[in-house]
């Protein structure tokens, strides 16, 4: 992010008084809350977070080692904002929108400080194709024209909050983001670029209730606990339980048009993995490289903590910008706990009164403000767009009763509870089917009815019942062994095992199984249901559970997951299943 000074002459310079880590104090500075300031001789970027008498308290986005009291501080008079325009897609930014590729060019392999770099290239020319003509009346949010950004068409808009006007001149051709492409009758001029303060949500016309699922290709998510486009979900789980893999699976395979992936206080290698993998993966819908629809924000755990706090806002603002063009955007934040911890660290340096577990009292408010920026909306220009937000939560000790998990659960509508017991036995995704929930089932009912199958909703409930029943039976088995169960319940145990091992387990690293479309999900569940129906009726006809367990077709079924064109194989298995049961029954 490059910071321009608003009224360079008018601002008087302040002086640093105290430096203690990422929080510094300045005096003699005219400042308002959240103004962006330049700190010290090296002009490190910072933001005003507290004003106390003459003392202006500033959080600094870079390492403050070597800075001394007495060094100058100047106020830019602007708040922390991102640059929005063509060139965002395929980029990887740090928490304050500095492109990491540019930083490598400017300062080498390690991140040093005091380097500014604009979020967008100001040299690159884009071909702008106008969609309005002179004489057209336009309002805030209106689409002025288009740029082919990647395979995605970038809509250039009149910024929000602008007064209506009449187009005088609109240009077509190759321009940089700074060149004026539109002039209004009243003399206002607009380039393609717009800046938006990250802490303020971009306005919309109205918020609507989500009714379409975000199809993720992950069976347990789409099948049991779906999230709607424009919805919110949380994935809490102890370390190593699969938060990042799940988020990356969603970034790869979900049918969003734009993906914003925020690595907030997590590992450097994980971001590198996305960077190396995504250009080679194809969007299953468009066949284009996944990178072309992706914006990455990487503020790893060893980068300055204040910038970590900002990274989440930088990400959601970019997501809202593409939503305003009418796209379905999904945003993954891994991990929101690191963001909350950054808040806690800054807050404790401000010596604020701590709330629960040292987190600031405004933790809940900040979390809900953030998730409220998700939603399915009617944009200012009348299009439908959505931002789906999926936040990972990293509870200390894997204990969900801690403040970040609890405050998040109060807001989000979908809860995917990761479970260390499952991940330890390599049941992936390690999402616990008994604790997880989705509050969108009702509103998505019709979609599944129409788009998947009229009996999908019924089959889903059936599967959930079997799993629920299994949990109860397991308690008995733990005491007396499975042989002591009535025969029909032994069949239930077997069917539940099939649901778990065939439907719920999904290998993110298998070329085929990593993505499973709704049709295949339905077919797999249907095949398990077929087995269940045949097994129960055989059992009533006198076939013993031990015999039922010898049905070979059952053991073939898991292989279907790894076969791309599975239809004929599945039909064969189902036919074989039928035959085997027939012979069992006639023998009984």
């Amino acid at each position: 992010m490059e910071v321009k000074t608003k009224h360079a002459k008018e601002q008087k310079q302040g002086v640093l008084k105290r430096i203690a880590g990422p929080v510094v104090t300045a005096v003699n500075l005219d400042a308002h809350m959240y103004d962006v300031v330049k700190v010290g001789k090296e002009e490190l970027m910072g933001e005003v977070i507290k004003i106390q008498g003459d003392n202006i308290i500033i959080q600094v986005y870079e390492d403050t080692s070597g800075i001394r009291p007495g060094e100058p501080v100047s106020n830019t008079g602007l708040s922390l904002a991102v640059e929005l325009g063509p060139g965002l897609l395929t980029s990887i930014y740090d928490g304050i929108q500095r492109p990491l590729s540019v930083l490598v060019d400017k300062m080498g392999n390690f991140i040093e400080r005091g380097v500014t770099a604009p979020g967008l290239s100001h040299e690159k020319k884009w071909t702008f194709k106008p969609l309005v003509k002179s004489g057209d009346k336009i309002e805030a949010g209106a689409i002025l024209g288009e740029v082919q950004e990647t395979n995605i068409v970038h809509k250039v808009m009149l910024p929000p909050k602008e007064k209506p006007g009449v187009v005088k001149t609109i240009k077509s051709g190759d321009y940089t983001v700074d060149e004026i492409i539109c002039i209004l009758e009243d003399g206002r001029e607009y380039p393609m670029i717009q800046r938006w303060p990250v802490r303020i949500p971009r306005p919309v016309k109205e918020k609507m209730n989500p009714t379409i699922p975000l199809i993720t290709g992950q069976r347990i998510l789409d099948g049991l606990f779906p999230i709607a486009k424009g919805g919110t979900a949380a994935i809490p789980g102890p370390f190593g339980s699969g938060k990042t893999v799940t988020q990356q699976q969603l970034a790869k395979w979900s049918d969003a048009e734009i993906v914003v992936y925020i690595g907030c206080g997590e590992r450097g290698n994980e971001m590198t993995e996305v960077l190396t993998e995504f250009p080679h993966l194809e969007d299953p819908k468009t066949g284009k490289p996944l990178m072309e629809r992706t914006v990455l924000i990487a503020n790893t755990s060893n980068m300055p903590v204040a910038a970590r706090e900002a990274s989440v806002y930088t990400g959601i603002t970019i997501a809202e910008y593409y939503r305003d063009m009418g796209y379905d955007v999904s945003l993954m934040a891994d991990s929101t706990s690191r963001w909350a911890e950054a808040m806690r660290e800054i807050s404790s340096r401000l010596e604020e009164m701590p709330g629960e577990e040292g987190y600031p009292a405004y933790l809940a408010a900040r979390l809900s403000e953030f998730y409220e920026r998700a939603g399915l909306v009617r944009t200012l220009n009348g299009a439908r767009g959505s931002v789906t937000v999926i936040g990972a939560v990293s509870p200390p000790g894997g204990d969900f009763s801690e403040p970040v998990t609890q405050n998040t659960l109060r807001i989000v509508k979908v809860f995917w509870a990761l479970d260390a017991k499952l991940s330890q036995r390599r049941h992936f995704p390690a999402i616990n089917w008994l604790n997880s929930y989705s509050l969108y089932l009702e509103s998505l009912h019709d979609y599944y009815d129409k788009e998947v199958s009229p009996d999908w909703n019924k089959i889903r409930s059936w599967a959930m019942e079997v799993l629920q029943k299994e949990a109860e039976l397991q308690e008995i088995v733990q005491l007396v062994g499975s042989d002591a169960l009535p025969e029909s319940e032994q069949v239930t145990i077997e069917v539940a095992r099939m649901i778990r091992e065939i439907f719920l387990q999904q290998n993110a690293y298998d070329a085929v199984d990593t993505f499973c479309d709704m049709k295949k999900q339905y077919d797999l569940m249907k095949a398990i249901k077929l087995f269940a129906d045949l097994a129960y009726s055989a059992q009533i006809a006198g076939v013993s559970p031990t015999q039922i367990n010898t049905v070979k077709a059952k053991n073939e079924l898991p292989q279907i997951k790894f076969i791309k064109d599975y239809k004929s194989d599945l039909a064969k298995i189902e036919k074989q299943m039928d035959e085997e049961f027939n012979s069992l029954r006639s023998a009984a």
């Binding site: 104090t25 800075i67 790893t300 755990s301």
Partner: protein, 462 residues
Amino acid sequence: MKEYRTINKIAGPLVFVEKTEPIAYGELVNIILSDGSTKRGQVLDTSDELVVVQIFESTAGIGRDSGVRFTGETIKMPVGKDMLGRILSGGGKPIDGGPEIVPEKRLDITGAAINPYARSNPSDFIQTGISTIDGTNTLVRGQKLPIFSGAGLPHNKVALQIARQAKVPGSTESFAVVFAAMGITKEEANHFMQDFERTGALERAVVFLNLADDPAVERIITPRLALTTAEYLAFELGMHVLVILTDMTNYCEALRQIGAAREEVPGRRGYPGYMYTDLACLYERAGIIKGLKGSVTQIPILTMPGDDITHPIPDLTGYITEGQIVVNRDLHRKGIYPPINVLPSLSRLMNLGIGKGKTREDHKKVSDQMYAGYAEGNDLRGLVAIVGKDALSERDRLLLEFADLFENRFVRQGLDEDRTIEDTLNLGWDLLSTLPVEQLTRIDRDTINKYHPKFRTGAKKE
């Protein structure tokens, strides 16, 4: 350089100095004692009225009459080629009787973050010769993979065995070892040193020793010195470096001690709220940089207080590192070495380092199937205790036996037993072949036909 005699307060490892000129945050400070000796510290808080200095050694002997010199620069570590083979104190001074290090460079010990854009994905399989690591929790070059252990468990033996045996098959280069001890006993340190000497590893090692009776606060800089050295060897001299940090629990205790001295609001169990970030600034100093030859692989060792994996030290570590190897007391009691419990263990970079062309195409599936079998068999042990073996179904009985076999043949191995990855995977298949083939649901038909001992017709026999 100006010397101040304006110390106003000394509390724990903190020294408060008044009436100074503007002092930089993070600056290195020398405190001059009346006997002429110096102690080092770093500026934690600076303002026009008061400067707070954290001392890295014991504050014994510091008084209000001591002199304070601000050096104007942050803490630097002199590094050079001739560091290999040397033994240094936890503060970086030679303690092997040899000469001072001839510095080729002086590097800031905090180390800047590697730009994720400049990183290259780790993907070279490291064969440690230990089946529970190579087979089921594979280590790759550039990974940070800690050992979670408990007091009195043989984690040091495991670490040494890894250091001795680690190699990248097909590469002739051996690893350089940077070893940093924090608060371990003299006896433990001797054990490491003797092993390094016995195997000749010392020639390719740099050792930093902060022992149990050395100042606790020095432990804050010991790992930073070690990692600065490792980065120099890796990214400037192009070596593959294995860093062993032991015991991170002592490091965290030192961190807590300083937090308390600064009267900070404590986080969980009294550890500072920024411990995650602080640990990340150490652990993230591992990896590979695009276009450079070397790599830094980290094996931090920590003892879990009360064997509790949810304790903040292992917990925060696990959230940062790329997996963990868990050493387990029950296995140790059963006399199994190495007592690695694979169930809570994990290597997140495993998938990048294994498979066709790296280890073997069946690797992932064999590993998954063994996990599933062992996990289920292990659960059944609880059930058997209640209902007895006879109440088990045939399937369950086989799983129970599989769990025992797994521990006794796959997990157990000799202190000097260096298994190749082929050995490890074949052993895995031998154990899996005690289960009915239909039960191997994690493995596809083709792989079974090719590798399962019963069907391995075309495959090579050893």
